[in-house]
């Protein structure tokens, strides 16, 4: 895919008086997994639905897979697979029937469809359940079925809205494996509130109040945050975190497991040994080791959420 799969300039969407998308500029090339993140109500679902050709939008330019979003979207829909937040498949159809139905809608030749479905079902562990009604599947399996249904027509663009929300951790891994496999021949765009998934993607799009605040690889995004992270290991991480917040160069501190994540302003912070001394001086929580660490995804996202990013 040489051309840009997604090219948006000034994309806007209003619902009544509310502007869900207030001028989105975005360039996405193919064969990547892109995570759209941001606070509640930022416009993530709206953006995803717009990309899938489900909304009428206004834009200076809005091209998805070479087609114009503001024009006739029939062609787009043929090449986009969309997995909404709520389970959108028919509960009475069995797994097999659902896939045959999708195949017919997309006019996939039956033999091809059967072969593809078989491969996907085996890969996701759904094969034993092929005759079970979709409504009787567990949450994780429903989601897997939804993703499989979207992948059946081999779309060039796969759009998923919180595909792993509330799903058990094993199924989440399996769905992610599906997405990684899909990435070999498609652009995958998803929204997620799981930090580890945001960290695993190729590119992030941080959305806030209907605008793109930042778009880039996790490293690029990290570069825009004027913070450094120190993981402080000790006996009582919560006490350490509380003490660390009092330091003049600290932006924040959080206890997580056996360490306290202390974020400091890069402009003001001294080196690790000095920080250790400062913390030990406060007599807090038995500090043993101060480890400078690259900004993790959680700290990056938190920084963006707090408006600290450049």
């Amino acid at each position: 895919m040489s051309e840009l799969a997604v090219r948006l300039r000034g994309l806007e969407k209003r619902f009544g008086r509310r502007r869900a998308l207030a001028g989105v500029d975005l360039d996405l090339a193919g064969r990547e997994i892109v995570a759209v993140v941001g606070p509640d109500g930022a416009g993530k679902t709206t953006l995803l639905r717009a990309l899938a050709g489900l909304l009428e939008v206004e834009a200076v330019e809005a091209r998805v897979l070479g087609h114009d979003l503001t024009g006739d979207v029939t062609e787009i829909k043929r090449r986009v697979g969309y997995v909404p937040q709520a389970f959108g498949l028919h509960r009475d159809l069995t797994v097999g029937e659902s896939l045959r139905f999708i195949a017919q809608l997309h006019r996939i030749p039956p033999a091809t469809a059967a072969a593809r479905a078989e491969a996907l079902l085996v890969r996701t562990g759904l094969r034993p359940f092929v005759d079970r009604p979709a409504g009787a599947l567990s949450g994780g399996m429903k989601q897997k079925l939804a993703v499989v249904s979207a992948l059946l027509p081999e779309p060039a663009l796969l759009v998923l809205d919180e595909p792993t929300a509330g799903v058990d951790v094993l199924a989440r891994r399996e769905i992610w494996a599906l997405l990684e496999a899909a990435r070999t021949h498609a652009l995958v765009v998803l929204s997620t509130s799981y930090v580890d998934e945001a960290a695993a993607c190729d590119r992030l799009v941080y959305l806030e109040s209907g605008r793109v605040l930042a778009a880039g690889t996790p490293t690029e995004l990290g570069g825009r945050v004027p913070l450094a992270l120190y993981r402080v290991w000790g006996d009582d991480p919560r006490a350490i975190a509380e003490a660390a917040r009092a330091l003049p160069y600290a932006q924040g501190a959080r206890a997580a497991g056996r360490c306290a994540h202390v974020t400091v302003w890069t402009g003001r912070a001294p080196e690790a040994a000095r920080i250790a001394a400062d913390l030990a001086g406060l007599g807090a929580g038995g500090v043993r080791l101060v480890e400078p660490a690259p900004l993790d995804m959680e700290s990056i996202l938190l920084a963006f959420a707090q408006g600290l990013a450049a």
Partner: protein, 309 residues
């Protein structure tokens, strides 16, 4: 040792032929944060609703703060605060009016109410939201307001059902800070969530799958049992490596040399090990330390895989 704040034995709940919760044993120590993890549909909400007396168990016993919840469900109500999955702020009333409403139900009024709400408003950063209606507030603020309301009557136990679901990361982090403050003040907090990394904020974790308890231990112990352990890499010049290996070796630890230095893998991260690493790093200019803490999602994947096998 004081009596546990929550003690449930053989807790079971069936809906027709479907067993939502299957013979759970739960013990929650006073003043701790107890995480109850599991996927949607695993039985989390059913369990928490039984613990607070909203739902009668099919079998089993529940004692909360010394009260038999099954026989006397109403007696616990003064002592517990609850935040359900749908935060129940009434639409059509401002936040302040919601506060007055709940206060009225608990018998808090006048100066006492003003005092308490003033403090909560400050701590939870709800000053600007006070005169707004819930439908006009963001998800994160509504969650904080829900927690504030749950603590208004100073309960000794807090039951929070997926309080961070649908809430942005920043609010989630703030929320956990608030919960940790409550625990520090002696409140027992029982929290359900499907964000596994939040287990690290808690003192104890119970993990439920298809109605059964498949893990029940502090996060550190789960790390010890279900992961290869902590991995500490110390980049050192070759001259210092042998000494480092000697210093770091010990029971349960595996020390090895790597391309840049030394690496030690240990199921437990005890103070002595950390101190040793710190000393070595300080002694050698240009030494670099990297500590890898096994992530909770990965740990729970193993727990689940083992349980289902």
């Amino acid at each position: 040792m004081s009596a546990p704040a929550i003690l449930a034995r053989g807790l079971t709940r069936r809906f027709g032929t479907f067993t939502a919760v299957d013979a759970l044993d739960i013990t929650v120590a006073s003043g701790t944060i107890h995480a109850f993890l599991g996927a949607n549909g695993s039985g989390k909400s059913t369990t928490i609703r039984m613990l607070i007396g909203l739902l009668r168990p099919t079998a089993g016993s529940i004692v909360v703060d010394g009260i038999d919840v099954i026989r006397h469900p109403r007696r616990v109500r003064d002592r517990i605060g609850y935040m359900g999955q749908r935060v129940s702020l009434y639409q059509g009333l401002t936040l302040r009016e919601n506060v007055e409403f709940y206060a009225g139900l608990y018998g808090i009024a006048g100066d006492e109410l003003a005092h308490r709400w003033g403090a909560l408003r400050e701590r939870f950063d709800l000053g600007e939201a006070e005169a707004e209606r819930p439908e006009d507030l963001s998800g994160g603020i509504r969650q904080r307001a829900g927690l504030a309301l749950a603590t208004l009557h100073r309960p000794r136990l807090l039951f929070l059902d997926e309080p961070t679901a649908g809430v942005d990361l920043h609010s989630r982090a703030l929320f956990w800070e608030l919960i940790q403050e409550e625990a520090a003040a002696g409140v027992t907090v029982f929290v359900t969530t499907h964000f596994l990394e939040e287990a690290d904020y808690c003192d104890w974790v119970s993990f439920i799958d298809n109605g059964r308890l498949i893990a029940d231990a502090p996060p550190e112990e789960l790390r010890r049992r279900f992961s290869p352990g902590y991995r500490i890499e110390l980049a050192l010049p070759p001259s210092a490596r042998a000494a480092a290996r000697a210093a770091l070796g010990g029971a349960e630890r595996a020390v090895a040399e790597t391309a840049d230095g030394v690496c030690v893998v240990s199921p437990r991260l005890d103070g002595a090990l950390l101190a040793a690493v710190a000393r070595l790093a300080a002694a050698e200019p240009g030494a670099r330390v990297r500590v890898e803490q096994p992530a909770m999602p990965e740990i729970f994947r193993r727990v689940l895989a083992e349980a289902r096998a």
